[in-house]
Structures are given as structure tokens and as C-alpha cells.
């Protein structure tokens, strides 16, 4: 049974003037314990919205449909009531811009221990010991738990945010661009830390990022999002070497080559607006392989290998 499965997840935001923005348009994902899924896509394609929806954390202006299965049970169905018991104990998150994820007027340790107390896992002295352990796990001295967030550097705060996410030993970790805004050295350290921790703890992780090379390095699986939909998902190897969707191929081509032989290519054009319905394939205006049905018919879901899915009319690969 998957650690986390998402089925046909939709999110709409109410906009002023009665309009709607269809930010997530039916995505499916599945993760086994120990798997790391890289969720990539251009800015605004709905990555953050999708993972916030998985924990029921969207603002009231959002409506959500679909199913989010944790160990088989749908946690989305009953709203906050079914979601709350699972928050942090089964599914935890490292937020985009985790710099501000800590309350400035409470100590870091206090905030790490908070969910432990809430879930009845540890309190008082035991919670302090556990907090120290967690900080040590991410390479911060346990004594620093009595410090305030502003006394931590950016990289340390990010590590502390990871320690906080691991507090209740969740089975699923959602990490939203956990390394942006950090310098390159620290980025590499944090990433290595996440990989090591997920291996050691058997965590399933969704790693949201813009950074494709990072996915190749760190993730077993990848999902490419475009305009609120999953363009293609499969193992990182499959997506890299045998992409089925032209967008996947172009993303890899647009990535600077480590050997520096190819010039960096960017993908011309811009993604479609999400507050208007799209006809046909949303990638069609930018696609170099677009043909007959692309402009008029929404591409069906197709699969070649088990677990390697795409939404594209092309049949022989991109």
C-alpha cells in the first residue's frame, strides 16, 4: 500500500468578481515508503498549491476536490476533522521560505516540541530531550533549543525546520523548495541531509523544486507539472533518458549540462492562464512536436511502463 496516494486532486481559487482560478487540475501521484518524488515545473504551475491541499492548509478562498490517501484512508474527505489528527504525526511539511516558518517570539526548541505535546508523544523533560536529539540529527547542537529564531542563520533555520518536520516521525514529508534562498554550499548540505534522513527513516518525500539537476541527484521519482496538470511522471531515469512528453525533454535540455558542452536553451513562450479554460493540450503553443489533435483535444493519460505516465498525444516518445 502506498505511503501517500493522491487521486484526481483539483484546487480552485475564488477570484474577485466571481471568477475562478483552476490552479490544480486533476493530479495523481503515488509514493511508496522510502521513495523520493521530485515535483518540478515552472513558477505558478501549482506545485505549492497541490502540496498545501494535501495537508488541508489552503486559505478559505480555495475549494478542493479529489482524494488524498494516507496508508489507504482518505484524509481529505472530512475536512479539518479528518485531517488534523494526521497533521505532523503522519504527514509533515518543510515550507517554501522556511525562514519565516518559526514564530519570532518563541524559542526554536519550544516550537519543535509543540507538536510532540499536541500529539501526546512527549512533554516536559522528555520533550526537551527529544528536541535536542532532533536538532543533533540535523547537525545543530541540542543546547541551541533555547535560542530564538533570529539567533539562527538562514541555513540553520532551514535545518531546524527539517528537525521540526521530523519531530513526530511522520511517514510522509512534503518539502517545498527547501533549499532556495540558501547559498550553494548550504543547499548541497541540506539536500544531502534530506536524502540521508529519508533513507534512514524510510520516509516518503515529495520534494518540490524548480531545479531539475537537483531532482536527478536526489530523487528516485519525478513528476513534471505544467499548468496545474501532471505532464509526465515516472522514475527519474525514465524521465531523463526516455521522456514521453516534449515538455519533459525540453526541461532537461534547458538544464545547463555539467560538462558545459551544450549552450543553455530556454523554452520560449509562457504557460497559459489558469483562470480561463484551456482547449486541447495546454502546452500546445510552446510545443515543438505539436500536431493535428493537439490544439483541439485534451491529451489522454497514457502509460508505457507501469508507473510511467504522461498526458500527450505523441505515441512514440518525445
Amino acid at each position: 500500500m502506498s505511503a501517500l496516494a493522491v487521486e484526481d486532486l483539483h484546487v480552485w481559487f475564488d477570484l474577485p468578481g466571481g471568477r475562478e482560478l483552476h490552479a490544480v487540475q486533476g493530479i495523481d501521484l503515488a509514493l511508496e515508503p522510502g521513495e523520493r518524488l521530485g515535483l518540478v515545473g515552472e513558477s505558478g504551475c501549482g506545485k505549492t498549491t497541490a502540496i498545501l491541499a494535501m495537508m488541508g492548509l489552503l486559505p478559505p478562498s480555495a475549494s478542493v476536490a479529489g482524494r488524498v490517501l494516507l496508508a489507504g484512508g482518505d484524509i481529505l474527505a472530512g475536512g479539518d476533522r479528518t485531517m488534523r489528527p494526521h497533521r505532523w504525526t503522519d504527514i509533515a511539511m518543510v515550507f517554501q521560505g522556511a525562514m519565516n516558518a518559526f514564530d519570532p517570539v518563541r524559542t526554536v526548541g519550544d516550537q519543535i516540541a509543540e507538536p510532540l505535546e499536541r500529539a501526546g508523544l512527549a512533554a516536559g523533560r522528555a520533550a526537551r530531550t527529544r528536541t535536542a536529539e532532533l536538532l543533533e540529527l540535523v547537525g545543530i547542537s541540542g543546547e541551541r533549543q533555547d535560542r530564538y529564531p533570529h539567533e539562527f542563520s538562514g541555513g540553520m533555520r532551514q535545518r531546524a525546520a527539517i528537525a521540526m518536520a521530523l519531530a513526530c516521525e511522520p511517514k510522509v514529508l512534503l518539502a517545498d523548495e527547501p533549499t532556495t534562498a540558501l547559498d550553494v554550499m548550504v543547499q548541497a548540505q541540506i539536500l544531502e541531509l534530506l536524502v540521508r534522513l529519508t533513507d534512514e527513516l524510510g520516509l516518503a518525500m515529495v520534494l518540490v523544486t524548480h531545479d531539475l539537476p537537483l531532482v536527478s541527484q536526489a530523487c528516485t521519482h519525478a513528476a513534471v507539472m505544467y499548468a496545474g496538470r501532471i505532464a509526465e511522471t515516472g522514475t527519474t531515469r525514465e524521465l531523463h533518458h526516455a521522456p514521453l512528453h516534449p515538455y519533459t525533454r525540453m526541461l532537461f535540455e534547458a538544464t545547463p549540462d555539467l560538462r558545459g558542452t551544450d549552450a543553455v536553451r530556454s523554452i520560449p513562450g509562457a504557460p497559459p492562464r489558469l483562470d480561463e479554460p484551456t482547449v486541447g493540450c495546454p502546452f500546445q503553443p510552446r510545443c515543438d512536436r505539436a500536431f493535428g489533435p493537439c490544439a483541439t483535444t485534451r491529451p489522454p493519460r497514457r502509460t508505457t511502463e507501469p508507473g510511467h505516465l504522461t498526458h500527450c498525444h505523441l505515441e512514440g516518445g518525445a
Binding site: R84, D103, P115
Partner: protein, 324 residues
């Protein structure tokens, strides 16, 4: 440890310097005012010699710098002179009405804090609902109404039905009956209710609006999303995270308004004929009682500065980021 004492020391020094500036300004302002004690002497037989004699008696014939030095020195030792009217020491004369004002102002402020903060928090949490709209509108209304008008409305519409006195601080006939401390206390409180309610209502509007907006700001912060993700209940989120952060600006506001209120009580105390510092100052102005006025204004200034200082200290306690 934070460099706590150096912060406190610096704030204290700053407060002292401000007080000195206030004393000097106070001196200058009163020299600039038209007329002196002798121009209020309107008796028929007041000859020029007599006026000169009075001027000499009060040191008004000396040079201005001399007067200034004397003023600063005497103020520093707590001697604010004698009231022209009663011939009693100013400090003691001021203390009597201040003693009446403080409990009244505190009562009103407590009322405003407890209701304003509660309503502000609830209203932010239930943003956009009827509760929210009602409290925003009532807050705006109360905040924008002229104080004295509000006081009059209370006299017209609340005093009668509630059987509350509208003037003075105690029933003058009660003392003759020698009824014991309990009825006297009740009587005092009854006289305090309407002026306190006026202050309370004005502040309540302000506190509600400001609590609401600072609460809304706090609720939009990333750490609130974290708290929700950690599975905290709504109440826990408000109590543990949103409230403390949104209180930071409110604390300053409350202390500042406490400082200003001694002066702001002039209108209210005049309407209710409540013998507090406001009424006293009003009377001193009409009497041209310079020593009382100088003392009174100094007292108001010092109370503002002191409250400011207290606000700084409390802010320091509440916000770990404050070190510089």
C-alpha cells in the same frame, strides 16, 4: 543572555533626558504666555507699587535665565512652588486630584482593554462575518465620536435609567451619616462609572480596531501556517502564536494612551464635574495659576515619558528580537 541591562539603561537615560527637555520647554512656554500674576489682580486699589511688590515677592523681577536656573533646581528637588490661589505647595495640590483621576482612568482602561482586545481577536478570527462587521463599525463609530459628546449622551441616556450620579466624586450628604467604608466605596464607584465609561468607550473603539488589524497581520504570517500544519487547534494557534505577536504593537499603544489620558481627561472631567487632574488644570488655566499649570503640565509630560519607558521595558520582555 541578551544585553538586557544596557538596553534598560539606555532607555532610562533617554527618558531622563526627555524629562529635562520637557522641564525646559515648560519653562519657556509659560514665559511666552501673555500676562502674569499681576495682570490677574483686577482690584481697584492695586497701585503700581503694590503690583511691583507682588512681582518681587514671586521672583518675577529677576532675569529670565536666573528664573530658569531656579526653576530647574527647585523642580529637581520636588519643589514646584506654591499655588497662587491656595498658597499650598503645588505637588500636594496636584496629588489630590491625581488621586481621584487614576482609579477612574484605570477603570476605563481596563474596561477598554478587556473588551477591545477580546472583540479585536474574535473579529480578526471571524473575519468577514457579521460579528466582524459589527465590531468594526462600532469600533469606528466610537473612535470617531467627540469625547464630550459621548459623555453628554451617557448623561442623557444612561445616567437616568441606571440611577447613576452625573457630577462630582461623592455624595456630599453621605459623609454626615457616617455610614462606614462599604457604602462610601460604592458611592465613589458609582460616581466613577460614567466618566470611566466615557474613556473606556473611546479607547475601546481604538483598541478593537488596532487589535483586529494587528491580529490579522499576525494570522497571515508563515508561522501561523506552520502552526496549523502541526495540527494545533484554532484556539491554540491564537493563544500560543498569534496573540503574543499581535500584542507587541498594542502594548505600546496602551501605555501611551495611559500616559496621555491624564491630560485627555480634561474634557471628561469638566463635563462630569469630576474633581480630577483635568478639572484642576482647567480651573488653574482660568485662574492664571502659573505654578499649578507648570506643575500640572510637567506631571502630564512625565507621565507620558514614564509610560513610554514602561512600554519599552515590556516590549523588551515580549519581543526577544529587541536588543539594540
Amino acid at each position: 543572555m541578551r544585553a538586557g541591562w544596557s538596553y534598560v539603561g539606555r532607555r532610562a537615560l533617554f527618558a531622563l533626558i526627555t524629562i529635562l527637555v520637557a522641564i525646559s520647554l515648560n519653562f519657556v512656554l509659560f514665559r511666552l504666555a501673555p500676562g502674569d500674576r499681576t495682570s490677574a489682580l483686577r482690584c481697584q486699589g492695586c497701585t503700581q507699587e503694590f503690583k511691583a511688590q507682588v512681582r518681587a515677592e514671586f521672583g518675577l523681577d529677576r532675569s529670565v535665565p536666573e528664573q530658569y536656573l531656579v526653576y530647574v533646581k527647585e523642580t529637581a528637588t520636588g519643589n514646584l512652588g506654591r499655588s497662587f490661589v491656595t498658597q499650598q505647595p503645588v505637588l500636594a495640590e496636584l496629588w489630590k486630584p491625581v488621586r481621584n483621576t487614576i482609579p477612574m482612568v484605570l477603570l476605563g482602561t481596563l474596561f477598554a482593554i478587556s473588551l477591545g482586545l477580546t472583540l479585536g481577536v474574535v473579529s480578526a478570527w471571524r473575519r468577514g462575518t457579521i460579528t466582524d462587521r459589527t465590531s468594526v463599525w462600532s469600533g469606528l463609530l466610537l473612535y470617531s465620536l467627540p469625547t464630550q459628546w459621548l459623555a453628554l449622551m451617557l448623561i442623557f441616556y444612561a445616567a437616568g435609567p441606571l440611577g447613576l450620579p452625573t457630577s462630582d466624586i461623592a455624595d456630599p450628604y453621605l459623609a454626615y451619616e457616617n455610614p462606614g467604608w462599604w457604602p462610601e466605596l460604592v458611592d465613589r464607584l458609582q460616581h466613577m462609572v460614567l466618566p470611566a465609561a466615557t474613556i473606556g468607550l473611546v479607547l475601546f473603539g481604538e483598541y478593537t480596531l488596532i487589535t483586529r488589524s494587528s491580529m490579522l497581520e499576525a494570522l497571515g504570517e508563515d508561522y501561523i501556517l506552520t502552526a496549523r500544519a502541526k495540527g494545533l487547534s484554532n484556539w491554540q494557534i491564537v493563544r500560543r502564536h498569534a496573540l503574543r505577536n499581535s500584542l507587541l504593537p498594542i502594548v505600546t499603544l496602551i501605555f501611551l494612551s495611559l500616559g496621555f489620558i491624564l491630560g485627555g481627561a480634561i474634557l471628561i472631567e469638566t463635563v462630569f464635574n469630576y474633581p480630577g487632574i483635568g478639572l484642576q488644570l482647567y480651573e488653574s488655566v482660568t485662574e492664571r495659576d502659573y505654578p499649578m499649570l507648570q506643575g500640572g503640565f510637567l506631571l502630564l509630560t512625565v507621565s507620558v515619558i514614564l509610560m513610554n519607558f514602561l512600554a519599552d521595558l515590556l516590549y523588551f520582555r515580549l519581543d526577544p528580537r529587541v536588543t539594540e
